[in-house]
């Protein structure tokens, strides 16, 4: 009997267009949108990368050539210079192969095509070099005997009193939080399949529920099979979502991707349990319950920072307990901990919290939906 009900729960669910749209297509579309919107922002604004530049020597400048060679020999060079003639340099700039052209001769000059961070950095580099070259030239003219000291002073490294200690080897991309929240939202959308369990098993909610209640199938068995079916459906959706983000959109989940899957699946089951609990609470129609669940889900996602990036920090400051019980925040935090911290303590702690809340929702759902006789239908 259990397998019979489970089989048809899965068939019914997998053919449900709403489920396919909201749990599979919607995250794919939104994830792609996020990737387009934020994917290159981090690369352009936050992450350092070598700036390609063309160098046209209008006159011999051995010192500048040596400086460039010295820069390029570093592990992560600031720029990569191509020594070419003017025509070739201009073509490279037009084609976007280089960010600017440095004309090297008696004086340095810079030609760029656009205004941007990399162009600004090139400009600062050229200005700084010109100033230092002027200082060195003036100093050597005024006091040639101090040439070594002047050169040493100009080329010496700046001593810093601060040292960077990284918390993690993980991905520090601040925009990845949006993808975590997206997975959390899909997980929470599991509440729709969870609610379906109560709709089809409560005689006062639907004709299907009444018919099922008239059958000799034990109600607890029927509810359990429905719950198992919803969990399987939600798991399929979560696996598709994470796989699409990781392998199609190439969202960087770090080297712990295998752990993202169980976390996402647990988040999905939490969503199902949440829907099951809410569905069994009030005696209102399916449409009203759907509206209540969707509103609640979107609110929880809002507080977890899906719509406004720093909302979670705001909630953490004003109502810290909300982040500890908000299923959306818990699920996204779970991924964040996994990606950001070296150890697994926080990740495991979040997983345990999610599991406990899931069990509470399931327990309360069973308690409130176990009734077999109704005051009115």
């Amino acid at each position: 009997m259990f397998l019979h009900i489970l089989k048809y729960e899965l068939k019914n669910g997998l053919r449900n267009k709403d489920l396919i749209i909201w749990l599979i297509l919607f995250p794919i579309v939104l994830g792609t949108f996020f990737k387009i919107a934020f994917g290159s922002v981090y690369e352009k604004t936050e992450k350092f990368s070598t700036i390609p530049v063309a160098v046209v020597e209008t006159a011999e400048n051995q010192a500048f050539r040596q400086v460039l060679e010295s820069i390029e020999s570093a592990d992560e060079p600031f720029l990569s210079a191509s020594f070419v003639n003017k025509e070739k340099a201009e073509k490279m700039l037009d084609d976007g192969d280089v960010e600017g052209i440095i004309f090297s001769g008696d004086k340095l000059s810079l030609t760029v095509k656009e205004k941007g961070i990399q162009e600004t950095m090139l400009s600062a580099f050229v200005k700084q070099y010109s100033v230092r070259e002027k200082i060195a030239t003036d100093a050597l003219t005024a006091a040639p005997e101090k040439a070594q000291e002047v050169i040493a002073a100009l080329t010496g490294e700046t001593v810093s009193s601060c040292r960077e200690i990284p918390l993690t080897q993980g991905n520090p991309d601040i925009y990845i939080q949006y993808f975590y929240n997206l997975i959390a939202m899909v997980a929470l959308f599991g509440c729709m399949t969870g609610m379906h369990i109560t709709i089809t098993n409560q005689a006062d909610l639907s004709a299907l529920g009444a018919r099922n209640n008239c059958s000799p199938a034990h109600k607890s068995l029927s509810v359990l099979a429905g719950f198992a079916g919803s969990c399987v459906l939600q798991t399929i959706c979560m696996v598709i979502c994470v796989t699409f983000l990781a392998f199609v959109l190439r969202v960087d989940f770090g080297d712990r991707l295998p752990l993202v899957y169980p976390a996402a699946i647990l988040g999905g089951i939490l969503g199902v349990a949440f829907g099951f609990f809410v569905g069994s609470l009030a005696r209102v129609g399916e449409k009203a319950k759907t509206a209540i669940l969707m509103t609640t889900t979107m609110l929880l996602c809002f507080f977890s920072g899906l719509m406004i990036g720093n909302m979670k920090a705001f909630v953490a400051e004003k109502v810290p307990w909300l982040n500890e019980i908000n299923p959306a925040a818990l699920t996204s935090d779970c991924f964040y901990c996994l990606n950001l911290y070296e150890d697994y303590d926080r990740f495991i702690s979040k997983l345990i919290t999610m599991a406990v809340i899931t069990v509470i929702f399931i327990f309360l759902g069973f308690i409130t939906s176990r009734r077999k006789k109704y005051a009115s239908i």
Binding site: H4, R15, L208, R211, S215, P216, K372, Y374, S376, I377
Partner: protein, 316 residues
């Protein structure tokens, strides 16, 4: 050994101050097609829901197959087939899958179940639609699917709660014939409706409900014998002098008359040749008239006489 399949005794159901069932009692024997007739809100569906242990009630006892009915009476539920007023099927399952799903809640043996599903499909005439999804079916076909889901497991007691609401005449006739066939095959049937013609057509015994009470019970002939009216004669006649009207009113067996909108209605109680006597009066007074027709009493007349309101008026 008792042949009573359903026994409802002194059932009371209240919704706040509203009394939905007022000391309602009923006994249904094996092999009957028992009709529960009454206007909307008379308590028919409430009775069915209490009978199925879906609804709690304030007072009374319900027994099915001689056993007390409770929500966990799974052995009793196994023998009941229910066809709800609202269509109860899965939108994303095909006709075959829907019937198989519900049949599978009663029959675990796959081979037996397959045979039952095929038989049910054939019974309701959905052979050409077995792979169709419910949303592709017309209202009548959807009702037939609803019935197939309720009877596929060959129940001993079939409860049909207004199964022909919003159904085309062709499907309605098919459904009614099907119910009679199920009864011939051995099932006891409880049929609720506010369509008196249907109840009159198929039911072997009828209970008339009004305001949660059983106002009459018996076969259709027994019910009709309960009332005064045995014949209603209607004659289209525009002008009817007072003298002639009085003469017709005083004819033997005529207990009431009315003349409005060009129609003369003559209500008779017993007697023979009532129509001939009325027409003789008109001819004697050289009065022309149009169409003439005579009607035997209907269940609506029974309802009208017992409750003071026509069943049809209540529907309006």
């Amino acid at each position: 050994m008792s042949n009573t399949v359903v026994k409802i005794k002194d059932l009371v159901k209240r919704y706040g101050d509203l009394i939905a069932l007022d000391h309602f009692s009923l006994e249904i024997e094996q092999g009957e097609i028992f009709g529960l007739l009454g206007p909307n809100g008379s308590g028919k569906t409430t009775t069915i829901n209490c009978l199925l242990s879906l609804l709690s009630f304030d007072k009374g006892d319900i027994e099915i197959f001689g056993k007390k009915m409770t929500p966990v009476s799974y052995d009793i539920k196994k023998e009941i087939g229910i066809i709800m007023q609202n269509v109860a099927v899965f939108e994303e399952l095909t006709v075959y899958e829907n019937i198989d799903y519900f049949c599978g809640l009663y029959i675990t043996d796959k081979a037996k179940r397959r045979a039952c599903v095929e038989e049910a499909i054939k019974f309701v005439g959905l052979e050409d639609f077995r792979r169709f999804y419910p949303k592709k079916l017309s209202g009548g076909l959807l009702r037939r699917l609803n019935i197939a889901c309720g009877i596929a497991h060959k129940p001993k007691l079939i409860i049909l709660d207004e199964p022909t609401v919003a159904v085309d005449p062709q499907s309605r006739n098919r459904i009614l014939e099907g119910i009679q066939q199920l009864n011939r095959d051995g099932a006891t049937v409880i049929y609720t409706s506010h369509y008196m013609e249907e109840v009159e057509q198929i039911c072997t015994r009828i209970a008339i409900m009004d305001k949660g009470r059983k106002v009459a019970e018996g076969t259709k002939d027994e019910l009709k014998r309960m009332i005064k009216n045995t014949e209603t004669i209607t004659i289209e006649i525009l002008e009817l002098p007072e003298k002639v009207y009085g003469e017709i009113s005083s004819l033997p067996h005529v207990y009431d008359t009315s003349h409005s909108d060009g129609k003369l209605s003559v209500y008779c109680s017993g007697g023979k040749h009532n129509l001939t006597r009325v027409l003789d009066v008109l001819q004697k007074n050289e009065l022309g008239f149009g169409r003439v027709y005579t009607e035997l009493p209907t269940l609506n007349d029974v309802f009208l006489e017992i409750t003071g309101t026509a069943l049809r008026d209540k529907e309006d």
